[in-house]
Point group: C2
Chain length 199, copies 2
């Protein structure tokens, strides 16, 4: 219904997650009336983010360098590794300022319905990182929901023979929710009260 | 909390209407994992839309040319003029396929609380268009809410001396709502049952 490029813009915006047709329209009209330099800045940062942002070759966290800020930081404890599903979980945990170890980002959770099995996650890379014996504790900080628990159980089983301490975040996190939505205090307490993955 | 350009992207997305901080984050992570060509296409269309899209010099509808598609179309009735608040209202009315006249886009509605008076709208340009006497009917299709009714009343008063037929869309539109959200049938009926602006 809209003229050429306006419809193209609405279509492109409508492909973003959580943006329905009406929202896409509203955003498009806002951009039509917005300052050209503001729109240009959004366009530039989109191009820049794809050009600059890579994934850390060690922990698969988002990074603008070969290794991420956390892996490069010599003050971080190299003997503790926190395994999370996504980059946003790293950010949520960093916000608590309770954790001084390093991370491993799996890239999701085991979810047979979505066709995601252990091979689609960075579990092999996790085992490779643990091979040299420097890490003595692995904290499984996957989401406290079905997929996250399944992933934690699977990884616990894989690590059983390595003689590591394997822990889960304490209950205290609301069950069935997403880790990223926990408030800092709850997430901080869950870190402090983490339990052995066997019981 | 996020690294450089990722935070920039979240900030820019968060400035869009209806996109809160959590939505901005979700969209940013989606874009981080999306195909670079998809993100590039969104960036390109943003630049293109600002470069190409102007406002019609006659009716102030959105247009890629000096005059919009509707003003250029010789099959449109030049004696009927439909006055709307915004470009999206033109699109909503075109969708009914009931109307074959032309448009005038005011650019909003009178709203003293938002500092929008008659001088901020394209009412002077409307009077200039009506000066040559070609238009014999003006349909006031502003939103059926407080601001839209006030705008219609104001314009009706301005046009009183010109000897035109001035009409409002029929009731049938849900009162207190926005014109753009009406379904095609309701909006079509409202066109068919339009009433004189005096009663």
């Amino acid at each position: 219904m809209y003229e050429g490029v306006v419809q193209d813009l609405i279509d492109e915006l409508g492909r973003l997650p959580g943006v329905g047709p009406k929202s896409a329209q509203r955003i498009a009209f806002h951009l039509l009336q917005a300052d050209a330099t503001d729109v240009r800045r959004l366009a530039d940062v989109l191009v820049e983010v794809k050009a600059k942002v890579k994934f850390c070759s060690t922990c698969f966290n988002v990074s603008e360098e070969e290794q991420c800020r956390i892996c490069r930081d010599p003050r971080r404890d190299p003997t503790v590794l926190c395994v999370v599903e996504e980059y946003k979980d790293v950010v949520a945990i960093e916000r608590t300022r309770e954790y001084r170890g390093r991370y491993h980002v799996l890239g999701g959770a085991i979810s047979p319905l979505d066709g995601i099995g252990p091979d689609q996650l960075r579990i092999r890379e996790l085992l490779q990182r643990l091979a040299d014996g420097e890490v003595t504790e692995v904290i499984l900080a996957t989401d406290p929901n079905l997929e996250g628990e399944a992933t934690a159980t699977y990884i616990t089983r894989m690590l059983k023979t390595l003689g590591l301490r394997v822990t889960r975040l304490a209950s205290g996190l609301p069950v069935g929710g997403d880790l990223e939505y926990a408030d800092e205090v709850t997430l901080g307490r869950a870190f402090a009260g983490r339990r052995s993955a066997d019981d």
